[in-house]
Symmetry: C2
Subunit: 169 residues, 2 copies
């Protein structure tokens, strides 16, 4: 199936929060996210990779992004939950942007993603986070690289209209 790239979407004014070293056990994701939702803080993406054994306990990092304006409130809630769970630390970065290549038929999208990653690497842009689905390949980068990233992808995928900022991306 040939992938069709329909465009580039991005959001800026995002903040990333990560709880480092959480126990990889049932109930932990709920414990971390519950208070955030209950406080009506909007969450854009949630990301958690597999755990590793650290001194015999399986630990992983739980990350999500919020609007920059909610960074402090979310951080405070997380620090409380993190302490209860015995997590190591809460860290964050309040100036990140998400850039996504949007398309269809990207099921085996390894080649499309590799092209995207190469285009960004050529501009020396570091990919802080990566998260993909069949219709969207998203990366999170520092906000200062946003314009450069969008142009690089625009050029690489020969998207002839100016990139659209998609508010609800």
């Amino acid at each position: 199936e040939e992938p069709i790239i329909s465009g580039i979407a991005f959001t800026k004014d995002e903040a990333q929060l990560t709880v480092l070293g959480v126990p990889d056990q049932p109930g932990v994701a709920y414990a971390l996210l519950g208070p955030i939702g209950e406080n009506n803080i909007e969450v854009d993406m949630i990301l958690q990779n597999v755990s590793e054994l650290t001194d015999g306990a399986p630990l992983t990092d739980f990350t999500f992004t919020v609007h920059t304006g909610d960074f402090e409130a979310a951080k405070a809630l997380l620090e409380k939950s993190a302490a209860d769970l015995g997590a190591r630390q809460v860290s964050g970065e309040s100036g990140v942007a998400k850039v996504s290549l949007v398309g269809v038929g990207m099921r085996s999208h390894a080649n499309v993603a590799a092209r995207m990653f190469k285009a960004l690497a050529n501009e020396n842009i570091n990919l802080r986070m990566i998260s993909t689905t069949e219709i969207k390949i998203s990366i999170v980068i520092e906000t200062k690289y946003l314009e450069l990233a969008v142009r690089a992808l625009h050029d690489e995928f020969e998207l002839d209209q100016p990139p659209q900022k998609v508010e609800s991306e």
Copy 2:
């Protein structure tokens, strides 16, 4: 905006591969994914969380999933790239399943995701990986929990038709 849950999708016969301790520097994601795509191995999801300083160097883990049948070939390619990059190790799990809650209007989907995580935690199902977008909340679990997970979400979200396995999910 009220979220509308349209259904549950899942894929089984997936295998997860992770390169542990890769340098968080431009070009690394491309170095890892390039050979996979060039060898025509289909990749379902790619997931990478933020890095942590380990002995002064920022390191992270790079994960992707493939069909179970491609596990060995992909692992061999990764081990080669991992060695070139000085990554710590390649690990994998060849029996995982992805379960996704699919909907619209889930922009501030913290509450929907929290409900999903709680329903699964109540069944003692461990969430190995989590990855979300505005229209899909995906988790990766051990294959043995797949049926239990789908039923739990089916009940929690009162989805009255039997869950559909979506091959192209």
